[in-house]
Amino acid sequence: MNASIGSGFFNFDFLLNEFCVISFLAKKSGLDERLLVTQLKEGDEAAFKAIVETWQDMVFNTALGIVQNAEDAEDIAQEVFVQVYQSISSFKGDSKFSTWLYRIAITKSLDHERRKKRKKRFAFVKSLFGEESEVVVHPPDFNHPGVLLDKKEDAAALFGAISDLPANQRLAFTLHKVEGLSYQEVSEVMQTTVSSVESLMHRARINLKKALQAYYKENG
């Protein structure tokens, strides 16, 4: 195709080429993903290694955004990939592989948070009965390593407020803001509608503003 509209401002050929390259790469990565999954189902260790190396940051970052602790996030990320290896046969391909990974990471992260809360409650009840319990150390403010340097203090305050959000709002906010997923992608991971995600984000922002207001009033 030799048509060109304008000399340098708008080049149709260039745009068409770019589109073709991007489509090719997207198709190729989709094919690669399907090939890796097929190979992993056959027990191919090299495929498993490729899967771990491709998606380890995504899984770790998701867990980190939810549990706000690097050690716990690492532990959860390992559990996620172990589960992927053990239950790959249950992945039917009706969603993207990354969507499936996100769901496993979220489930394990939320399970971890529930176990932590149960331990705290149990320790509190034990202390009421005068039984010795572990010293509860309140964790310091969470600093996400990927936050820009000049925003670290504000981000720490925000993460503190995020940790008090209801689970669904917290998930939607974390997936959108920390993982950078679009509302459409968040809705696929959370298996809900885009309008539900919009509503969750709206309510999350309202709750975060309230929490931050109280925080800044107290801390100046």
Binding site: D57, F60, A77, Q78, V82, G146, K151, L158, L208
Partner: protein, 112 residues
């Protein structure tokens, strides 16, 4: 008023503080740790299966099940044999069977 403005400003800055955030990465050699964990879990599964199977109660229950199965199969077999023999008019009592096996003239016994 100024303080309120400052707080509101700070809230907005905090809400925007995750803009430009980069993904965090796990510590190096993450795959090696995943592989080690997988190997540990696989060993643990086999260990727990063999531990369960070696329990005395499980062994006794298994033996009892096998014995009952054998009794059931044998009783079914003898019932089937009996019905087949009846159909073909064959002698089924054990004395006649022994007599025929040892060529003993059971029917023409000389009475003492």
């Amino acid at each position: 008023m100024n303080q309120k403005k400052t707080i509101e400003g700070r809230i907005e800055e905090a809400l925007d503080s995750l803009d430009g955030i980069r993904r965090a990465s796990p510590q190096p050699w993450f795959y090696a740790r995943v592989k080690a964990r997988l190997d540990r879990e696989e060993k643990t599964v086999w260990e727990s299966i063999s531990f369960f199977l070696s329990k005395p109660a499980v062994v006794m229950a298994g033996l009892a099940a096998i014995l009952m199965l054998n009794v059931f199969v044998l009783s079914r077999q003898s019932q089937e044999l009996g019905s087949v023999a009846n159909q073909q008019g064959l002698v089924t009592d054990s004395e006649s069977i022994i007599a025929s096996n040892s060529s003993f003239d059971y029917e023409n016994l000389v009475q003492p």
